[in-house]
Symmetry: C2
Subunit: 122 residues, 2 copies
Amino acid sequence: MKYRSIGEAAAALDIPDSTIRYYEKMGLLPLLERDKAGRRIFSDDQMALLGTVMCLKNTHMPISDIKQYVDWIVEGESTLERRLEMMNRHKQAVLDEIALMTESLKGIDYKIERYARQLGKK
Amino acid sequence: MKYRSIGEAAAALDIPDSTIRYYEKMGLLPLLERDKAGRRIFSDDQMALLGTVMCLKNTHMPISDIKQYVDWIVEGESTLERRLEMMNRHKQAVLDEIALMTESLKGIDYKIERYARQLGKK
DNA sequence: TGTTGACTTAAACCATAGTTCAAGTCGTAT
DNA sequence: ATACGACTTGAACTATGGTTTAAGTCAACA
């Protein structure tokens, strides 16, 4: 199994190393292994977890909620139902936010049209 | 012309009064009038501007950029081109962010499916 | 006339999400 | 052997976007 350094993991996900250290400190990356020198090493499983964390972060889930989710993963099968419910609720929140952005974009498009018209007919 | 109090303006846009005061202090609401008692009064024009500010805020434009935009509005017609360019750039940023969220949502949907399957077949 | 309720101010406070710093360790390539 | 780059730590620092507080003013209604 291939292990990655923090630099490789960060490059793979296009985020700064410092963010990964911060996430670990916040408890989003439990069970992260170290080599003999004390350096973080990322297994495929940890890369997958980090990918999930990034999905949640990219959709604006607060760190505290991501931590709850990760804690449930560590806790095991007994939390499957809670995890499913959390993901369903989050999905709806994301859809709502996308809808708000899309709606607000209409106001922006309206400005663009008006400015373009004013500049064009001058 | 109907004027609104800060409470009415806030209720119309479903935001706290304190946010409107904060936006005014940040310079997002220049030319906002006051009544004899010193209270803010919102004309239809100011309501429209506030609506635009909310569109920009809802699409995650930083306060400092919104201020630049409002400053250009106050400056007048000579800034039309810059405003158009700013709105076009912002529109692209919003589309990019929606795309990222939509993509990240796929990872979440995948989790939902897996959890649902695991819970269903048990 | 007096008590509400909505408003005013400036300044302090808060949460969130990182980033930066200083000082030090490790392993490999020359 | 040593220099280099990538890594380590904890703590301090930053930026952003508000919210809260304290003390006070004002207009209208009972």
